[in-house]
């Protein structure tokens, strides 16, 4: 199948403007005749639901949390990029575009990324007008800091809580629309399937997580903004409830899944402390602005960090990448840290981390400045580890964080199922094989505030006289399937808990499809996943009933979907015989040990097509063409 990305004509810098000028419109009086379903209430979903409602559409918004204010966008710490060039340091739309394409190791679609760079400045304007309390300088103007993969200061931030403040801005805009009656909010509600009628997305089936009621909802279009799938690793920086069920069920209904093996391992997380560990906590990339990463030169080192003299320390990022130093992109920093730990120079009781040290900047800038910049992160670190990072260096290690892969979408964020739009981390579109820091918030809000309102309107314009209802065979059939699945899971009376399966699955995926991958390991993983899935089918235990709040049942459904997703990730990783960004195949590296791309064979998006249960997905390719930038070696030296 040929995948048409529907990229607008014209020079790169004019494409988005052309699209906006020539797209179809729905007149204000007609907008209220349409209903749009938005699943997810994070930056993309919350902003999208609010913006569509402001236009006059009826919106039904769904989230699994008790309130839309809790979506996991809230946990983003460091900041949001925008090419405002307030620093006068040479930033521009082109430079943000270029950095993002290069950061993604030339595996993202140029047109989407250019639009993202263009919209970045509007996002900051929008958020400031909403009252987002970004950091300011003494003159009252907005402050900036630097993030990985860039040599300009373009990151706007609100201490270490930027995601929280941006999300609350979107939540407040959404709340205004709920009060106006334009958004019908369904909290504690989980999407369990997509309803497709004659090839078009026409609704969803949900489960009310309090009463257990299975419900059908119809709409003229469906937007999925349900985030990424890093919880496939079990231990990740995701919220415990974050899951891939919505996108996976959509995939099974015909939406292609693109580049599942492009996952991001974040270099600065707190290392795990024991078997009971339930999640990993990120320490913002912004810490690398001032913090210096090092390990002792001697693997047998036993002295306390502050007693190890400079001559016995290896600041390995500064040594290996002098141009970017501690601010190399995440994939590069993660692999460098892994090498040190693998070679036995890890620090801490379990020797499973590297130091992130603030002694030198604290001396240079004074503790109050460090507190002002990173206070809440230092507090969080101390709560978790019991160590005071003002006194002893932090210990950090890479952890699964973000997933660049996701449902395939065209330029308009529409998937291969007509009328099904996918926004934010749930789609694959803007970050290629690696995402730069402070770009996730940018993409979520660009999609929500500025892209969805245009692309969904353009789509709806063709369906003015159409009525939608759940009174259709496809709704009844899908609902029956969902009920069947819930009932089947409830009958699980084996011996193993859902979490024990999830941990075992996560370990396979982390070991074989994590920071470094090879063909043999990936084949081993595929076999291991299949065996574990079989055990899941016979030995799982689920307690409680379906018509009540049942957290075990919720998790069982999510983990079952992760088995299939994990297998697809491994197959995608196996087929991509190159290294690109977060996908590092040890068979494909440069003599210096860096990722070696193969542009001749793999400059494409791998979009996998579901062909039925028990069958392997079929690979479709969207070739990537580069007009504005020439793919080059990705050097940060």
């Amino acid at each position: 199948m040929i995948l048409d990305a529907k990229i607008p004509p014209g020079p790169m810098a004019d494409k988005w403007t052309n699209q906006q000028s020539h797209q179809k419109l729905v007149n204000p009086a007609n907008k209220r005749r349409f209903t749009i379903i938005v699943v997810g209430s994070g930056l993309a979903g919350g902003a999208g639901a609010a913006s569509l409602a402001e236009l006059g559409y009826n919106v039904k918004c769904f989230c699994y949390q008790d309130s839309p204010r809790r979506a996991h966008s809230i946990a983003a710490q460091g900041g949001i990029n925008a090419s405002k060039n307030y620093r006068n340091d040479g930033d521009s739309t082109f430079r943000l575009f270029y950095d993002t394409i290069k950061g993604g190791d030339f595996r993202a679609r140029e047109a989407n990324v250019h639009r993202l760079a263009e919209l970045s400045v509007n996002i900051i304007d929008q958020c400031v007008a909403q009252g987002v309390p970004f950091a300011r300088e003494y003159g009252g103007l907005l402050d900036n800091r630097s993030f990985g993969g860039a040599q300009v200061s373009r990151t706007f931030y609100a201490r270490g809580q930027t995601g929280q403040q941006l999300l609350l801005g979107a939540y407040q805009a959404l709340s205004r629309q709920i009060a106006e009656g334009r958004v019908e909010m369904h909290s504690r509600s989980e999407m369990l399937d997509l309803v497709v009628v004659d090839g078009r997305a026409r609704g969803i089936i949900t489960r009310d997580l309090v009463t257990g009621k299975i419900e059908a909802h119809a709409g003229h279009a469906v937007v999925l903004a349900t985030g990424g799938y890093s919880n496939v690793f079990y231990l990740s920086t995701m919220a415990k409830g974050s899951n891939a069920t919505a996108i996976w069920r959509a995939h099974r209904r015909g939406a292609f899944f693109a580049n599942p093996c492009f996952t991001q391992i974040h270099p600065t997380c707190i290392p795990p402390s024991g078997e009971y560990q339930s999640k990993l906590t990120l320490m913002s990339e912004s810490l690398r602005n001032d913090g210096r990463i090092w390990v002792p030169r001697d693997p047998k080192e036993t002295r306390r960090a502050d007693q190890i003299p400079e001559s016995d320390r290896d600041y390995f990022l500064e040594r290996q990448y002098p141009a970017f130093g501690n601010l190399v992109p995440r994939d590069v920093a993660s692999r460098a840290a892994k090498r040190q730990v693998d070679e036995g120079r890890g620090v801490g009781e379990k020797k499973n981390g590297v130091y992130l040290d603030f002694a030198e900047p604290t001396q240079r800038l004074g503790q109050p400045v460090i507190e002002e910049r990173y206070g809440n992160l230092f507090d969080m670190y101390e709560k978790i580890t019991g160590e005071n990072p003002y006194k002893v260096p932090m210990r950090i290690y890479p952890a699964p964080h973000y997933t660049m892969g996701g449902l395939w979408v065209d330029y308009n964020l529409e998937s291969t199922v007509k009328g099904l739009f996918v926004a934010g981390e749930a789609n694959f579109s803007d970050h290629g094989a690696n995402r730069l820091g402070a770009s996730a918030l940018m993409q979520g809000l660009a999609d929500g505030y500025f892209v969805l309102p245009y692309s969904v309107s353009n789509f709806l314009a063709d369906y003015l006289s159409e009525k939608v209802t759940t009174d259709h065979d496809a709704f009844r059939a899908t609902e029956a399937e969902v009920r069947g699945r819930v009932e089947r899971l409830l009958k699980s009376r084996g011996k193993r808990t859902v979490d024990s399966f999830h941990r075992a699955l996560g370990k396979i995926v982390w070991d074989e499809c994590g920071m470094a991958r090879n063909a043999e390991g990936l084949r081993r993983a595929l076999k291991g996943i299949a065996e574990l899935k079989q055990a899941f089918e016979t030995d799982l235990t689920v307690v409680g009933g379906g018509e009540e709040l049942n957290q075990t049942l919720e998790r069982a459904g999510r983990v079952e979907d992760y088995f299939e997703l994990a297998a697809l990730m491994c197959r995608d990783a196996l087929h991509r015989e190159e290294s690109a960004g977060g996908h590092f195949r040890v068979e494909h590296k440069t003599p210096e040990g860096e990722a070696a791309r193969d542009d001749e064979k793999f400059a494409y998006v791998a979009a996998w097509e579901w062909t039925g249960a028990g069958k392997e997905q079929v690979l479709n390719k969207e070739p990537l063409t580069f007009e504005l930038v020439k793919p080059s070696g990705r050097s940060y030296k």
Partner: protein
């Protein structure tokens, strides 16, 4: 360490509840409080018993989803900490801990330690926003915001909406939560046009959805995981009183728009 937990079990809203005693054994001091409950729950599931239901999501202290009382203290004994960030090193072998849900008329119990906090959403919906439809914003650096104002606004905006303030208040009042949003937006120049209306609508909605009255116990500040100051309550009260003196009511006066 080994602990004894007395946990409130209630199958669903409106049903009768009771305390059930559990022994938590071999607990590592590195575990978070919720990880300790995870371990306990794994054991219950293996025995075919219903695990203890509790709300949680990010487990990083920022989403505001988790929270329950530990020995009568919202989020437990450590100041400035949500229960997901509370670690077992703050407890000792042999401790007896009583866990119960937020107790407040405005937060009905959903199951076990889970409560319904939709009343908070209603307070925000009443006016906790600046009306600025997508696309209508001016250039961000056009309006300067003095840094002290911006910092004060930020500290109010740090509220995570967990409900600890209400749970700890003997009156079940939501003044700290409401005043944090009223102050965050009221301190910024962008928030001025709707400032009076916002204060009136949010305060009166807060009272209408079942929260109690504030009588200055200030226990809310003591348990707030983000350390939000009760001084914001004074700020909100001032905004509210001034607005009432100006005759501002909950429903905005609709100016008659000309026909066309």
């Amino acid at each position: 360490m080994n602990l004894t937990l007395k946990v409130w079990r209630q199958p669903k809203g409106g049903a009768a509840g009771r305390f059930v005693t559990y022994e938590a054994k071999d607990i590592s001091s590195h575990m978070s409080f919720l990880e300790m409950l995870d371990v306990l729950n794994e054991g219950l599931v293996k025995k075919g018993e219903d695990p203890i239901a509790f709300d949680h999501d990010c487990r990083e202290g920022i989403c505001g989803m988790c929270g329950f009382m530990i020995n009568g203290s919202a989020h437990g004994p450590q100041r400035g900490t949500t229960v997901c960030q509370l670690h077992m090193r703050h407890f000792k072998d042999g401790d007896v801990l009583t866990l119960e849900p937020w107790r407040s008329a405005a937060f009905p119990v959903v199951k076990d330690l889970i409560v319904d906090r939709v009343a908070f959403d209603k307070v925000i919906q009443a006016g906790g926003y600046i009306s600025v439809p997508s696309g209508s914003a001016p250039e961000a650096n056009l309006t300067r915001v003095p840094k002290p104002d911006a910092d004060l606004a930020f500290e109010a905006a740090a509220c995570i909406g967990c409900g600890a303030c209400v749970a700890q208040c003997p009156n079940g009042a939501a003044q700290l939560f409401t005043s944090a949003k009223v102050s965050h937006l009221g301190l910024l120049p962008q928030g001025q046009p709707e400032r009076s209306q916002r204060a009136v609508r949010m305060v009166e909605t807060m009272e209408a959805v079942g929260f109690g009255s504030c009588s200055n116990y200030t226990e809310c500040e003591a348990v707030c995981p983000k350390g939000i100051s009760v001084s914001y309550i004074a700020r909100m009260n001032r905004d509210y009183v001034l607005a009432k003196l100006d005759g501002v009511t909950r429903e905005p006066a609709r100016s008659a728009k000309g026909g066309g």
